[in-house]
Amino acid sequence: MPPRRESGVKGKGSSSEETDQWVVVLPDSVAEKQDEDEDRPTFVKLLHPKTEKGAMFLFSKDNQQVLEVLAFQEEFRSWFVGESVQQDGSLHMVTPVDPLFLVLPYLVKAYESGMYMPIDQLVSDGQYPECTRLLSCIQLSDLEHICDVKGSGDVRACRYNKERTLEWLKQKVEQVADKLTDSSVRVTGGAQLLTFTHSLKSEQASRDDYLRYACGLVSDYISTDLSKELTQHMGIKIPEKKEVNCAEPPAKKAKLSEIPEATEDYSKFAVKDEKPKNTKMTAAQRALSKVDKTGMKSIASFFSPKTAAKSKKK
């Protein structure tokens, strides 16, 4: 199988452009019909705690839940949707995120001042004004995972607490490591979930392997600085090479070959680049070149240039 190219910007073909559409999967609770007077679920742009850039999130109709949007975007995929074709073969998966991850950057930033501040002052952002909606997704008691909270009643002030946060993240990592382990147990147990058969378990995969992998996953929702501290806090050993750190537990390493990994190995690049660059073939030429034409005289005669030229009239 040829290596797959990372899906990226692709040339847009012809499009009738009558409507844009997206294929999404989201929790039943979010897809439930809203009453007329209720707010609609709303996609907004919020600061992503890891990338420090904007990303799409969805607030449920009652602002009780915030969900992130990931797209399964494999190259060479399109959809048939009813009686239509959609060039973009993405499957958008909208899943709940822990809102604490999303307010954490604001708390960390304010910590520089050392002051206790009301949470609604802490979480405000001119660039991503919708971030204030996060507050309705968060219970006060949840905030104590990441802050010191002072005061009582309506007058509460918070200040980021790194130790609490690291402890909270550690539990997250353990939760995830458990889930990674459990997911394979289910598979061997013959689970009903057909979609859930990707096994992460192996004889060689130790608890440490799962913890390291889980730490990597959780680190996708925190700043890189905090990720480093978390790794230290948990005593997770990071192998020298970064790629290895990102790898799945040992059992799955073979799979990694499917993904071209970033390396400093320029020789690979040089070798590939020296491959003779074929001048671009037409689809017909390609189709022909795929076929071994030895011993096809009688057919080949039907492919005479004259015939081909005539058939090409528009």
Binding site: T51, M56, E68, L217, A262, K290, K297, S311, K312
Partner: protein, 303 residues
């Protein structure tokens, strides 16, 4: 000849045959193989075999088998009736290769060409005949392309048979001529009675597709008028023929598959990783878990 199995599902290949005459299970027999509809861009390709006792070859000659290409369709139909009527001493089998099956094979990721498809079909028919208990001794095969290589291949598979592979075998051996008639009659009937599943009440499909040969102006005209921008052609058309693919290049929307332009593609990932290694911000790189699953953060719902 009952083609109803094929007519029921013409997206798939199908084998149809006569009863095996008792006499062919005892007396040593000869078998002829020929094909029909190799060249056309439309419809199925049919492989036919006919077999009878070696002692019956004079009777074959008397029945008037000749080079099937010199016969009219009516003459072929008549001769097929004669074959069917001689069921007590000769048997026949046809293998109809659906145009869709031909397209699928030839356009496969791993190349599978028409010759190999033909050979495999012929081999399958010989084996089937042996399995049905016919006492085969001599096999005569019509071929295009390299006869001696093909003969060696067949002899390797069936060392106990006396195999003759030659061009124009249908003119030289009456049993091949009979096989050729079975194949041609089946091909003609399959094409004539073609049920287009793509045909609906609102969208009739014209039957004015000519002979099906790429050089036939009627065929070309029909093909050009049949194009659907997304799906291309009905499955009656062999997409793997350059005549068909050229029309689609012209008139249909491009469709890209991951096994195309392999050289170009092979170079691309290393170019990407080259830049990634040098300049990628670790903040923007998602965990391996997501990369392996082609999962990306959505930053916008642009169009």
């Amino acid at each position: 000849m009952d083609l109803c199995d094929f007519e029921e599902d013409n997206t798939k290949s199908c084998v149809v045959g006569s009863e095996v005459p008792d006499v062919t299970k005892g007396e040593p027999c000869c078998l002829g193989i020929d094909e029909a509809g190799r060249g056309p861009v439309l419809g199925p390709m049919v492989y036919g075999i006919c077999y009878c006792p070696l002692s019956g070859q004079d009777r074959l000659k008397d029945m008037g088998f000749a080079d099937s290409k010199t016969l009219t369709e009516e003459q072929r139909e008549k001769l097929f009736e004669a074959i069917a009527g001689a069921g007590e001493f000769m048997g026949w089998t046809i293998h109809i290769l659906a145009p869709n099956a031909i397209s699928n094979c030839m356009l496969r990721r791993s190349k599978y060409n028409l010759n190999t498809l033909s050979h495999d079909t012929a081999i399958g028919l010989i084996q089937r005949t042996l399995d049905s208990g016919v006492n085969l001794q001599e096999v005569y095969v019509d071929t295009v392309g390299d006869a001696s290589k093909y003969q060696d291949k067949l002899k390797g598979i069936f060392p106990d048979l006396d195999i003759t592979v030659t061009p124009k075998a249908d003119a030289k051996f009456p049993i091949v001529s009979a096989a050729s008639i079975c194949a041609k009659v089946a091909r003609d009937r399959a094409v004539k009675g073609w049920g287009f599943f793509e045909e609906t009440e609102d969208s009739a499909i014209s039957r004015k597709f000519g002979s099906g040969y790429p050089s036939d102006p009627d065929t070309k005209k029909w093909l050009a008028g049949m194009v659907d921008p997304v799906f291309g052609f009905p499955q009656f058309v062999r997409f793997s023929w350059s005549t068909a693919s050229k029309i689609l290049d012209d008139k249909a929307v491009p469709v890209n598959w991951d096994d195309e332009d392999e050289d170009e593609k092979a170079a691309t990932p290393s170019v990407l990783s080259f830049f990634a290694a040098k300049g990628e911000d670790p903040k923007q790189k998602k965990h391996q878990y997501f990369q392996e699953r082609f999962l990306h953060s959505v930053t916008d719902f642009g169009s």
